[in-house]
Subunit: 388 residues, 2 copies
C-alpha cells in the first residue's frame, strides 16, 4: 500500500479593512476588497496533513481529533478544484501517480482552543488547500491557490500570504480575478504586534454568511460603504502599510471596524457583534491615543465581540501596560515579563472590565503557510493520535 503524504501549516489573519458582503455566495465573491495582517503561527495556526492512496475508498477529514463530514459544498468545491489542477499535470505527464483519482485523508489540528471563539476557518481552509497543493505538487503560485481557498471560506484566501495581504475583489463573474496578493511581506514591517482580548459573551453570534446576506439585502448605508468608503480606504490603507505609517494605518483600521459594525446595525433585523465589554475596550484605546496625542494602538473587531489590538513593538510597554492594568487577572500574560510594563496610566475604566474577557493572546505579524516536517498522519494514512 502506497500512501503519499504532505503537511503544511497556515496562519490566522485578522482583517484591518473588512470583508462584509458577498456578490456571489457559492463562489465567495466579495462586494469589496479587503486587507489583513497575518498573525504569527507560533500563537495561532492550523497544521494539516493529507494523504492520498489508491486504497482510500473515500475522502475523510479529521478535525482536532474528530472525524468530520466532508459533505459541505465549500470543502467539496476546494477538493474538486485541486483535483482538477492535479489532473492537468497527470494528463501532461503519464509517469506521475494519478493522485487526482485517489481518496484523500485529511487530518487537521489548531494550536489554539476552538473555545477561544476565534474564527479558525481561514487558517483551516488555507492549510487544507496548501497541504493538498503540496501533495499534488501543483505549480500554481499562492495567488492562484488563494482562489481555491477563497471558495472554502472567503477570508481564507488572505491566509495564503504572510505579512500584509490584500484580497482584490475582482470583477469577473467566475471569480478568476478575486484573489489574495501580498501588499508587503513580514520583513517590510516586522514590528507590528497584536493583542487579542477574547471577550466572553452569553449570546450566539449571527453566523457571518447569513449576517452578510442580511446586510447586503437590507442596509441602506451598505451600498455607500462598498461603492465609496471602502475603495478609497483600500488605497489609503495599502499606502499606509507601504509607508509603515502606523497613525494612518491605525486610524483607518478603527474606522473600518466601526464602519463594518455600523452597516451590521443598519441591517434589518440589526446585527450586533460588539457588546458592552467591546465598547469599553474601544473607549480605552481612544483614550490612550488621545493622551498620547497620536494613534499608537488600533482596535478591530470581526463578527464577534473579541478585540484585536494592533500596535508597534516600540509602544508595547505603554499599550500593554494599559491593557495589563485592567486585564491582569486574565490568562495569557505568561510569555511576557509584566514587571517591565508601564502601568502608570491614570486612564479610568470600569475596574470590573476584566470579568468580560476570558483570555488574552499576545502575538504579532507572521509568515504565510509553511511546509511542515511534523505530520499528523501515519504510514497507513490515518490520524496518528485521535483525542476522542
Amino acid at each position: 500500500m502506497t500512501v503519499y503524504t504532505a503537511s503544511a501549516t497556515a496562519p490566522v489573519n485578522i482583517a484591518t479593512l473588512k470583508y462584509w458582503g458577498k456578490r456571489d455566495k457559492s463562489l465567495n465573491l466579495p462586494t469589496n476588497s479587503s486587507i489583513s495582517v497575518t498573525l504569527s503561527q507560533n500563537d495561532l495556526r492550523t497544521l494539516t496533513s493529507v494523504a492520498a492512496s489508491e486504497d482510500f475508498k473515500e475522502d475523510k477529514l479529521w478535525l482536532n481529533g474528530k472525524l468530520e463530514s466532508l459533505e459541505s459544498e465549500r470543502t467539496k468545491a476546494c477538493l474538486a478544484d485541486l483535483r482538477s489542477l492535479r489532473q492537468e499535470l497527470e494528463s501532461k505527464d503519464s509517469s506521475i501517480p494519478k493522485l487526482s483519482q485517489f481518496g484523500l485523508h485529511i487530518v487537521s489540528e489548531n494550536n489554539f482552543p476552538t473555545a477561544a471563539g476565534l474564527a479558525s476557518s481561514a487558517a483551516g481552509f488555507a492549510a487544507l488547500v496548501v497541504s493538498i497543493a503540496k501533495l499534488y505538487q501543483l505549480p500554481q503560485n499562492m495567488s492562484e491557490i488563494s482562489k481555491i481557498a477563497r471558495k472554502g471560506s472567503g477570508s481564507a484566501c488572505r491566509s495564503l500570504f504572510g505579512g500584509y495581504v490584500a484580497w482584490e475583489m475582482g470583477q469577473e463573474t467566475n471569480g478568476e480575478d478575486s484573489k489574495a496578493v501580498e501588499v508587503a511581506p513580514l520583513s517590510h514591517w516586522p514590528n507590528m504586534k497584536a493583542a487579542i482580548l477574547v471577550v466572553s459573551d452569553d449570546k450566539k453570534d449571527t453566523p457571518s454568511t447569513s449576517g452578510m446576506q442580511t446586510t447586503v439585502a437590507t442596509s441602506d448605508l451598505f451600498q455607500w460603504r462598498i461603492k465609496e468608503v471602502v475603495p478609497k480606504r483600500f488605497d489609503e490603507m495599502k499606502e499606509s502599510i507601504l509607508r509603515k505609517d502606523f497613525a494612518t494605518f491605525g486610524d483607518l483600521t478603527m474606522k473600518d471596524s466601526n464602519s463594518f459594525h455600523a452597516v451590521c446595525l443598519d441591517s434589518t433585523p440589526p446585527i450586533f457583534y460588539l457588546n458592552d465589554t467591546s465598547k469599553k475596550i474601544i473607549k480605552l484605546i481612544h483614550e490612550l491615543n488621545k493622551r498620547e496625542g497620536k494613534i499608537i494602538a488600533a482596535y478591530t473587531f470581526d463578527a464577534g465581540p473579541n478585540a484585536v489590538i494592533y500596535y508597534e513593538q516600540e509602544n508595547e510597554l505603554k499599550v500593554l501596560g494599559l491593557i495589563y492594568k485592567y486585564f491582569n487577572k486574565v490568562n495569557g500574560w505568561e510569555k511576557l515579563d509584566t514587571k517591565t510594563l508601564d502601568t502608570s496610566s491614570d486612564i479610568q475604566a470600569d475596574p470590573e472590565l476584566y470579568k468580560g474577557v476570558s483570555k488574552i493572546i499576545l502575538t504579532e505579524v507572521g509568515q504565510g503557510p509553511q511546509d511542515s516536517t511534523e505530520s499528523l498522519i501515519n504510514d497507513k494514512g490515518l490520524p496518528k493520535a485521535v483525542a476522542n
Copy 2:
C-alpha cells in the same frame, strides 16, 4: 404693581425619523428633515408660567423649583425673538403695554422625574416659547413659533403640534424655512400607543450636540444617510402616517433608529447609545413581529439607551403582554389591568433582562401645547411653591 401672566403646557415628542446633525449650530438648523409622534401630556409634559412686569429688573427662570441661570445663548435667542415679535405689535398699537421692555419671570415644571433620563428639553423649550407667545399675544401661527423653539433645542420645534409632526429642514441660511408642520392630527390616528422602557446605564451619554458634531465631521456613511436615505424615508413615513399603515410606519421607524445609531457608531471616536439591554429589547420586538407575521410593534431609541415602543391599541394585549412577561418587576404598570394582558408568548429572552430597566411609562399619542388654567406663579410674579 401690575403683573401680566400666562401659562401653557407642552408635550414631549419622540422622533420616528431621527434628527442627527446640524448644518448651523447656533440656529439649530438640521442636516435632514425629521418626523415625530407627540406623546400624551397626561404622562409627560412641561407646564410653564410666565410673568412680565415693569418692576422686574431682570429675567429669571425657576426650573423644577430651582432658580436657574438664563445665560445660555439658546434661551437668550428665544427670548430675543419673542420680544422682537412683541415689539412689532407694540409699535403698531401704542395702547398695549410695553411687555417687550419688561423683565420676565419664568417658572417651569415637568410632571415626570428628570431622573427618568428622558430628554425634557423639547417640552421645556416648547412650553417656554408658547407661554411667552401667549403672554405677548403674538398672532403668529404654531409653525412660525416653532422656529423660535427650534433655536432653543432643535427637536423642541416638533413639540408645537400634537399628533404626527414633521420638522422640515428648510434650505435658507437664516433658518426661516426650518420649521415644524403637522403631518396629521391626533384625531387622524388616535390609537397609537407608546411604552417607554427607561434603561439604566452606568455611563454618561455623549451629549447630543457634541455627538452630532462628531458624526457630521467624521462619519463617512453620514453623507449618504442625509442625502439619500432620509429624504426617501421622510416621504415614505409621511405617507404611511396618512394611510395609518402601521406595518410600514413601524418598519421605517425601526430602520431609521438603527440607521441613526449606525452613523453614531461610524463616527470617530464612535458614539454608543445602545447598551446590551437595549439590544435585547430590539431582539424581543423583532421576534414578536416575526411570530406575528407582521410588524405590530416598533422600537426607537434616541441619544440614550431608553427604548420607546410604538404599537396600536388593538395589539396592546399582545405587545404589552410580552413586555409584561419580561418586565413585570419594573415600576409603571399601575395604570393598567395587567391581568387582561396576553402573557402566553413563548418568545425566549434573558430572564434577568428586567434588571436593566428602571421604569416603564405607558403612554400614547397626544395633543400639542395647551393653555393652562393652572399657574405656577403668584400675583407678585414669583414661584408659588419652591421645592428647594
